[in-house]
Amino acid sequence: MSLDISFIGILIGSIMASSVPLILAASGELITERSGVLNLGVEGMMIIGAISGFALMVITDNLFIAIVGSMLSGVIISLIFGFLTQSLLTNHVATGLALTIFGIGLSAMLGKNFVGIPGKEFPILFSSLRESIPFFGPILFGHSIVLYFAFALPFLTNYFLKKTKLGLIVRAVGDSPVSASNQGINVILVRYCCILYGGAMCGLAGAYLSLIYTPQWIENMTAGRGWIALALVVFATWSPIKVLIGALIFGGITILQLHMQAIGFRIPVQFLSALPYLMTIIVLVVISRDSRKIKLNTPTSLGRIFYKEK
């Protein structure tokens, strides 16, 4: 196989496409976790987004409604998690796990009549530029609007957390809910909003899969991407820009193993697939052994229940 410059351009373009669901889901989960809530339901919310988006596309034949609907369905399903953890003070880990199990089951139930229906072509932007410019064309142009949004999202998230008052509030709630509450901030409300936002982004990530990346509905089609997104947030030490870099690395590994399989490369593909998980463990060890580092990076109250005596 020749490794000419235009092939590399196409390769990079496909790596970008495969990293989109990871960027979206991880950016959403990042905000949720920054507010001190650990939602392990990412996979469940993504798969619900995937089936809702696809079903709405088939029923309404309108891609805009499908995309917005998938985000709304993510919000609705994350509301279950929010109500349980924030209003009924349930354990975050167990509730998130229940959400994932429930979501996978529910999506298969809802999607029963949508298996085997072909998807619709999603409009891509600047398709003429893609062909005319070598190397940079396939990288920069000819993608769906969701991809451009996904690549802008980490920067927007970074700006939100660092430069806006609301971002400061989210971080305060995550780092020290008690003092935030004493300052008059409604901790529960902030956490609800962050959970629902996370749900919307995971729903969109799912819809990207079923409407754009592989336009069809397959049971369990998120295939563990939600768990990788969760790992990615830790891998990025809760920094939005590093989420983008991490997603490209993880997406790159997925694409590379496909190509290496084709070339007949000697390293077993399973080893490459395991790399994102092993890398996440290594990053966890590196950031966790130094208690100063972990304090700097981790939302201090992550996963802890906040209860205010009325």
Partner: protein, 359 residues
């Protein structure tokens, strides 16, 4: 007017009663979902919860599925009681099956009474080693055990995938992703002719008895419970926290490994990609539903096993995907967690004096 007060102590009767409320609400919720999807809810629920266990074969299948769930949940109860969030039992199950299966493959053309005990032991050790990874990282590097144990689930499944496709694949298997069949000496003895229920159920029952003894009759059990209630008290009492973390993870991993080896030497008889329908994750629900109590876990494992069986029956009779079992499993946990609110808070309805919610 509704008034909510924090309770000072949890009433024990309510503590063991709320799981039943959760189960009833789950059945109602399932009925509603079936109704929305256009099925007759009564009929659908009958296919789900009654048809599967209406004959002897079905009852044997129920016990067959409850066995791994019970074993894993018993192990997890040690972790959860001491506030260690091992959610990677699925990985420990898989790795136990890999190590146990490896030993079984060594003896694939031999017979002997010693082979099965060796295979079982290897499975338990495999699960134990795999559980030690998050435990050691937690004790010595302060890493979060939730994320590490979860990541390792995928690593273990990829190792299994590599082995059954590559070096361990059956040389006469036409490149199917599976190993050779184990020899009869590596298989769990069947309890009854024509039924799939096997001797692995005794492993689960032994685990129940042993865990009851350890948790309620030994110093180790006392340490585990105290650490779960208050880490500070445990430190003040001078308990060796690090050793305890390692021990509970080892117990938990060994149980999951046993469950894995029970599956491959029981109903499966070889290694392939799909050795477990997420028993390791579902067992977390079982542990909670059983209130981390050994005998509660027996009951809970039967209930959750029924959701697996019901999903299979419903797939045949109603043509709905068998993933629907997970809808019920998720709902059980949702409702159980929600009803826990009643344990820690008193809900008083002031205008109606008689309606004090106190079952």
């Amino acid at each position: 007017m509704i008034k909510i007060e924090k309770r000072n102590d949890v009433p024990m009767a309510l503590y063991f009663f709320t799981p039943f409320i959760a189960i009833i609400l789950t059945i109602l919720g399932g009925g509603i979902i079936f109704y929305i999807l256009g099925f007759n809810p009564i009929e659908a629920l009958k296919f789900y919860f009654i048809t599967p266990i209406s004959n002897l074969y079905g009852f044997s299948e129920l016990l067959l599925k409850a066995t791994p769930l019970c074993l894993i949940a018993i192990g997890l109860s040690f972790c959860f009681k001491s506030n260690n969030w091992n959610i990677g039992a699925e990985g420990q199950l898989t790795f136990g099956a890999i190590v146990g299966g490896g030993v079984a493959l060594l003896f694939y053309n031999q017979e002997g009474f010693y082979i099965l005990p060796l295979v079982i032991l290897a499975g338990a050790i495999g699960g134990m080693i795999f559980a030690l990874i998050p435990a050691i990282l937690k004790t010595y590097f302060n890493t979060n055990e939730i994320l590490v144990s979860l990541m390792l689930v995928y690593v273990s499944k990829l190792i299994l995938d590599y082995l059954v496709v590559g070096p361990w694949s059956n040389p006469e298997g036409f490149n199917f992703p599976e190993t050779r069949q184990f020899s009869d000496s590596s298989r769990m003895p069947l309890l009854f002719e024509g039924l799939r229920i096997h001797a692995g159920i005794f492993l689960a029952l032994a685990a129940v008895m042993l865990s009851w003894f350890i948790l309620y009759k030994t110093y180790l059990g006392f340490q585990i419970k105290v650490s779960g209630l208050s880490l500070k008290t445990a430190k003040y009492a001078g308990f060796k926290g690090k050793t305890m973390i390692l021990v509970v993870f080892m117990i938990s991993g060994a149980c999951a490994g046993l469950a894995g080896v029970g599956e491959i030497t029981g109903p499966i008889g070889q290694l392939h990609r799909m050795i477990s329908p997420d028993y390791g994750f579902t067992a977390i629900i079982v542990a909670f539903l059983g209130r981390l109590n050994p005998f509660g876990i027996i009951f809970a494992s039967l209930v959750v096993a029924l959701t697996y069986l019901g999903a299979e029956t419903a797939q045949i009779f109603l043509q709905i995907p068998k993933y629907t079992g997970q809808v019920f499993q998720g709902m059980i946990l949702f409702f159980l967690l929600a009803s826990d609110y009643l344990l820690f808070f008193k809900v008083k309805i002031l205008s109606l004096k008689k309606n004090e919610l106190r079952h």
